[in-house]
Structure formats: C-alpha cells, structure tokens
C-alpha cells in the first residue's frame, strides 16, 4: 500500500513549471540557432569564404559620389563604411530639422481659422501620408531631379540657384580667416546673452519694473558681433555663388540628384506625419487653457507660443521621437537612388566581396546604435519638458 501522496507531482508544481517551460523554450531557441549557424557555416565553406572582418582593411575599388571626407577608390572598405555612415547622418540630420519645421507649420495650419490654409494642409497630409515613401522618392529622383535639363541649359533662379540633371547647386558660405574669430565671439555672445536675459528677468520679477530682458540679451549678442567686426574688419564668411562651366558647377554647394530626391522626399513624407502629431498634441491641450489666455488679453500668436505649444510639446515628443527614428531608418531607401549612404555602401561592398553576414551585421549595429542615441537624446529632452509636479 502506498501512502497517500501529500506532495504534488513535479509537472503540476507551480514552482517547477515556469523553470521547465523556460528550459524547454531556451533549448528550442538554441537548437534553432545552432541549426541556422551550422548551415550558414557549411554553405560559406562551400563557397570558399571564411567568416571574419579582415576584409575591411582591403582596398575598395569603387568611388563614392557624395562624401563628407576624402575618399578615393584606393581607400579601404572600412573607410567606405565610414563615408556611408557620415552620409546617413548628413541626410538624417538635415532631414530631421527640415521635417520638424515643415511638420509644425502644416500641423498648425491644419487648425487655422483660415479655410484655405486648413484645406491646403489637409490635402497635403492626406496625399503624402498615404503614398509609399519609395514611390515618392522615385518621383522626385526620376521625374524631377533627373528630369531637369542638361547642365549647359540649367534652369536657374536669379542666376544663383541652378538645377540640372547633374545636380542642383545653391550659393554656399566659404570659410575665410575671420570665420574662427567670428564663431568664437558668437558663441561667447550667446552664452553671455543667456545669463544677461536670466539676470534681467530675475530683476524684473523681483522689482516688478520693466527691465527688458529680451533687448538686453539681443544687445549682448550684437555687442559680441561688433567686437568680432572690430577685431577682423572682415565679413565672417564669403559667399560663393555658383557658375556653370563645361565640366560642372564651380563654387556654391552641389546637391547630387540622389541626395536631393532623398532629402525632399524624406522631409515631405515625414512632415506629413509630424503634422498629424502636432495637430493631435495641440488638440489635446484643454480648451480652458486657451480661453484663460484669451481672457488675460494675450494675442493668438502669443497664446500659441507661450500657452499651447509648451503644453502640447509634452504630448508631442514621444511620437515625434518615433518619427525621427523612422526618418533615420527610411534614409536607407537611398540605396534605390544611388546616394551612397550606409546601406548603399553595404550593398556595393557585399556584391564585391560576398561577405553578406559581416556586412549586414555592421549595418544592423550602426542603425541600432543610431536609434539608441536618438532615443537617448529625445528622452533627455522629454524629461526636461515634462510637467514638474509635487
């Protein structure tokens, strides 16, 4: 006779089931991983490639059109990747700034009292949000930027901006010997003006008399710039206006068709999403706030700037961060329009060396760290703009 069991069997024990479950799950994952990796290793051996990152030091025998640092086809694959990463950062950085500006304008226009402005903004959002980004990029690239006339017959605006199928060119600043002095003094001026503004504002709050903090801050910057002028007796930079020659543009800053198309498409597309976020954020600010501000006699631009936007920003920032991350990731579509950013370089390297695992792992790592970095920055700003409660 067996004694009546007082303990539950282990397969029904609440303390053991979770552990068992996890072990089973982990084993399955590991088996799957081992299966995939052994397969990959055998297939690689069959092709005759051994895994490793030593190819990064070898000579890349291709050239990159858009580059922020010197690069020629005799440089290494590793350097090609750095050029690609810099190109990604360039388009993402400019794109984020422009998309934010355009998005806020459109988002605010969607709530305008002016019927026409509201309509234009709505149609803009509906069209750009509901068509694929890649289609938009293709339209800008193949139909607009490559559709411009040949370089000798460039379209021009005021003979300063030129557009041709080799690229668009805009006037740009040239660094002169005075640039550094101006830059340093401008920086000092900005820092000082911030403190001046703080000080005067504090006095104004304490004494209750007008101390003009804004004028003082502005004056400090002007003063710094005046000193810079006295020191150098030169303009901070010279403006180089482009000219057309047989071989291409001289002077100015040339945007390649690929970069132009990518940037315009990214900005227009992302701005339509940002506009919706801004609109939602503004609508979420309770009506009483606006009414109270109106009752205080504030003008509507002032209400928007001082009452509505600071509160809306708190709601806007988390989804806005998402849009920034999307923009960074979407910049990888440049691979389709011959702008050599990270993925574009990656594809070229991959087709030359056949190192698919290594190349894709580099690409993934870079994107992950860029995403993490952006989220980090936006989280810091988010903390800063959050409501401080008791």
């Amino acid at each position: 006779m067996s004694k009546p069991s007082t303990s539950t069997p282990f397969w029904r024990d609440k303390r053991i089931i979770p552990i068992l479950l996890q072990v089973v799950f982990a084993v399955i994952v590991v088996i799957a991983g081992v299966f995939l990796i052994t397969n990959a290793l055998t297939s690689l051996r069959q092709i005759g490639i051994s895994f490793g990152y030593d190819f990064l030091g070898k000579m890349a025998s291709f050239d990159i059109g858009d580059k922020l640092i010197e690069f020629s086809s005799t440089d290494s694959y590793g350097k090609a990747f750095i050029v690609g990463i810099l190109n990604t950062i360039k388009v993402a950085f400019i794109g984020i700034i422009l998309a934010t500006i355009l998005g806020f304008i459109v988002g605010i226009s969607r709530l305008s009292t002016n019927w026409l402005a509201r309509m234009v903004a709505t149609v803009y959002v509906e069209i750009f949000r509901n068509t694929p980004l890649l289609v938009q990029i293709f339209i800008w690239f193949y139909a607009v930027f490559l559709g411009f006339p040949i370089i000798e017959k460039s379209l021009s605006i005021f003979e300063v901006f030129f557009f041709s199928n080799r690229g668009s060119v805009i006037p740009w600043f040239d660094i002169t010997s005075a640039t550094l002095v101006w830059g340093i003094l401008l920086l000092i001026g900005v820092v000082l003006s911030y403190f001046a503004w703080k000080l005067r504002l504090k006095q104004q709050v304490e004494t209750g008399q007008k101390r003009y903090p804004g004028y003082f801050a502005f004056g400090t910057i002007l003063l710094a710039l005046g000193i810079a002028w006295l020191l150098t007796l030169e303009a901070p930079f010279s403006i180089s206006t482009p000219e057309i020659s047989k071989r291409g543009y001289i002077g100015g800053y040339t945007l390649s068709p690929g970069f132009g198309a990518l940037l315009v498409a990214l900005v227009m597309y992302t701005a339509s999403f940002i506009a919706e976020i801004v609109r939602g954020g503004i609508l979420a600010v309770s009506k009483g706030q606006v009414e109270a501000a109106k009752a205080l006699g504030l003008k509507s631009p002032t209400i928007l700037r001082l009452v509505v936007l600071p509160q809306a920003i708190r709601i806007i920032i988390p989804p806005l961060t998402n849009q920034y991350l999307n923009l960074i990731k979407n910049s990888s579509l440049a691979a389709a329009v011959a702008y050599q950013e990270l993925v574009g370089v990656g594809i070229t390297v991959l087709s030359q060396t056949g190192r698919s695992i290594e190349v894709i792992s580099i690409v993934i790592l870079v994107y992950l760290s860029m995403s993490l970095f952006t989220s980090l920055l936006m989280n810091i700003y988010n903390k800063y703009s959050q409501l401080v409660e008791r």
Binding site: P18, L21, Q22, F25, A26, V29, L36, I37, N39, A40, T42, S43, L44, S112, T113, N114, W115, L116, A117, V120, E126, I127, R129, N130, T131, P132, L133, L134, V135, Q136, F138, I139, Y142, A143, L146, G147, K329, N330, S332, L333, A335, A336, V343, I347, L350, S356, I357, I360, V363, I364, Y367, L368, S371, L372
Partner: protein
C-alpha cells in the same frame, strides 16, 4: 430630460438663440478667409500657391503628359507577367472575393457595405476607361453582378454568417492554389506573379502570418519568465531598430545561407518571410499596448473563476486587448501595405518594380512622371480606403471615446 427639469424649476426667461450668421457667400468668405488682415494675407499667399499648382497640374495632366504608357502597360501594372491564357484564374479569385464581399456587406452592412460599394465604384470606373479590352469589361461586369447578387442573398438570409467567415478564412489558400496551380492547373511560377497582384499578396500574407507571431511576442514580452521575456524583447527591439530594407536583404541573401540546401524557397516567399518577421515585431508592440490597457481586475476575475493561463488569455484578456488596438493595427497594416513597395529594391516586380522596369524600356522614354504618378494613385486609393474603414471602425467600437 434633466435639462428641461432644471429649466422649469428655475423659471429662467426664455432664451433666444443667437442670430445665425448670414450664410451668404460673402458672409462665409468674410468669416473663413478675410476675418483679419493677417488672414487676408494668408489667403492671398495660399491662394496664389494653390492657383499656380492647380493650373500647372491641369495643364500637365491634360495637355503635356502622355498617358499612353499606362494604357499600353495596364495589364503589366496590375497582374505583372501572369500568362494571358491563365488570366481567368485571377478573375476567378476576384469573383470569389466579390462573393464574400457582397455577402459580408449584406450581413453586416456598415463599414463593409461602404467598402464594397467603393470597390464597385472602382470597377465601374475601370469599365468606363476607353482603352479597356472587351474581355476585361465582361469579367468586371460579372464581378459587379456577383456582388449585387451576394448582397441581396446576404440581406435576406443571415444564416450564411458562419459560412462567410469560413470563406474569408479559406480565401488565402484558395487564391494561392488558384494562382500557382499546384498540380491541378498549369503551374505558374512566382517569377511571373507581379504588379498590383503581388503587392496585395505580399501585404496580405505578411499581415495574416505575422498575427499569431505578434500575439505570442506580445505575451512573451509581458511574461514573468525572464528567459522568454528577454528573448522576446531582444527580437522586438532588434527588428524595430533596423530599417526594413536590411531585413529584406537578410531574407533575400542570408535566408538561403541559413536554411542550407535542405530547404529551397523562391524570391517571393523570401520577401514574404522578411515582411512577416518585420510586421510581427511592430504588431507585438501594438498588442502589448492593448494588453497594458486591460485593468488588473480582469486578470484577477479570470483567475478567481479558475481559468488557467491559456483560457484566461484567449477568452478574457486578448479579445479586449485586440479590440482596443484595432485602429493602431489598421494604421500599422496601412504602413505595411505601403512598405511592400520596397521589394522593388530587391528585384521583385511588384507594382513599383514593374513601373521601374517600364521606364527603363526605351519605347517609353521620358514617361517617369506618368508611370510613378499612376503607382502613387493606386496606393493612395487603397490606403485611403483602409484609413476610412479604420476611422469608421474606431467610431463604431467607441475605442477613442473612453
């Protein structure tokens, strides 16, 4: 009621409604366009921009552009290189879908009815296009007739409810079997599938197959078991951190490498796998949001009833959680539908890929704008339909209200 009682108690003087604003054209203009000098400037600026844009667009669309390229490649854009003599299979698929749409709109009306009538509108517009061949017109007319018939049956008899649901469930396998043949008909390889058909197929497959995976990942991410949780988090964050195009490249280049010689899958299936893995991670985050919105009491009540973890999830928590995130999921699906255009980069001939091939054909030199605008228009119509449906669903579910 309450209002009336209050009023009668207080004996307030009868309120007179404020005078209605003059509804004349001038009054409207003054209120909406020229209410202040700022507004007037705004109106003039926007008015000029709109005028220039509209004038140039009309000028271009009707006089300067050459729409012959669309006419000549219409079939290519819609079904790709699917062989002409096998096209009836595509039509049968469409008719089956029409039957189901008609039945569903008859049974459930509402949003489904709107979508169905919208589809009929598109059919009618296509029939009226001058360049459409006779055969296509006949097929489309059959489709419309089928929709109307099915609608009438659906309104009369609601006993088809379950049959319709089962029909929708079986639709995808039936369509795949019909399109590829599978021994029953002549085999048509996926390399011949293309155009809008392929776009739709990739999107639908990704959405359907990512759903169970997304649910599992979402539950896994909220699990108390650390190994399961960390693997779920790792997967979700990895996929969400990298661009879709890299995942497509992984699927195209590395999937064959990882799977070895034992399993061979073709290009289209690889793209579908890539899309499914991608969608699942985003879907998981959406569903997790829904799970978080379920109050604790629901979990506790389910446990108090003695339900085990599986029953608790399937019957109590998930139905509520999924309902709460329907709008977000439709938004995600619209995004996935748009993103299917990325397969053009990895060399598939979806709608955009076909468009790219057409403009590289010397016979259609200089028609980039026409081709890509057509592609954009197709996406615009379908995305708008989906977002319209999502808005209506949102209202009828009352999700946004609470």
């Amino acid at each position: 009621m309450e209002h009336n009682v209050l009023n009668s108690n207080k004996h307030e003087p009868t309120k007179v409604a404020p005078p209605r604003p003059t509804t004349s054209v001038l009054g409207w203009l003054k209120a909406n366009l020229f209410s202040s000098w700022m507004n007037t400037i705004l109106t003039i600026v926007f008015g000029t921009i709109v005028f220039v844009l509209v004038k140039n667009s009309i000028d271009w669309i009707f006089f300067k552009s050459d729409w012959y390229v669309i006419v000549a490649n219409f079939k290519l854009l819609i079904v790709g290189q699917y062989p002409n003599e096998e096209l009836w299979r595509v039509w049968i698929c469409l008719i089956l879908i029409s039957v189901l749409m008609g039945l569903s709109s008859g049974i459930w009306k509402g949003t489904m009815g709107h979508l169905t009538s919208f589809m009929m509108g598109i059919y009618i517009i296509i029939i009226c296009l001058p360049f459409i061949i006779f055969e296509t017109r006949v097929w489309l007319l059959i489709n419309i007739a089928v929709i109307v018939a099915a609608f009438l049956i659906g309104t009369k008899q609601s006993k088809f409810k379950i049959a319709t649901l089962i029909g929708w469930g079986l639709m995808l396998p039936i369509v795949i079997v019909l399109l590829s043949g599978f021994g029953v008909f002549n085999h048509v390889g996926t390399n011949l599938w293309g155009g809008f058909l392929l776009t739709l197929l990739i999107a639908v497959v990704a959405i359907i197959f990512s759903f169970p995976l997304g649910v599992l990942l979402a539950i896994g991410r909220r699990s108390k078991l650390p190994i399961i949780r960390y693997i779920s988090i790792g997967y979700i964050e990895l996929i969400r951190g990298v661009p879709l195009i890299t995942i497509l490249f992984v699927a195209q280049l590395m999937l064959p490498l990882f799977l070895g010689d034992s399993i061979e899958i073709d290009n289209v299936v690889r793209a579908m796998v890539g899309f499914t893995l991608f969608t699942a991670a985003y879907l998981a985050e959406n569903i997790r949001g829904g799970l978080q919105s379920i109050p604790r009491g629901q979990f506790e009540a389910a446990e108090a009833l003695g339900l085990n973890a599986t029953f608790k999830m399937t019957f109590i928590i998930l139905p509520q959680a999924l309902r709460a995130v329907i709008p977000a999921m439709v938004g995600l699906f619209i995004g996935i539908f748009k993103d299917t255009s990325l397969v053009a980069i990895v060399g598939l001939t979806d709608l955009l890929g076909i468009g790219k091939n057409i403009i590289s054909n010397p016979a259609f030199l200089g028609t980039q704008m026409e081709v890509f605008l057509f592609v954009a228009l197709v996406f615009l119509i379908f995305c708008n339909m989906m977002s319209y449906a999502s808005r209506r669903l949102e209202n009828s579910l009352g999700v946004g209200k609470r």
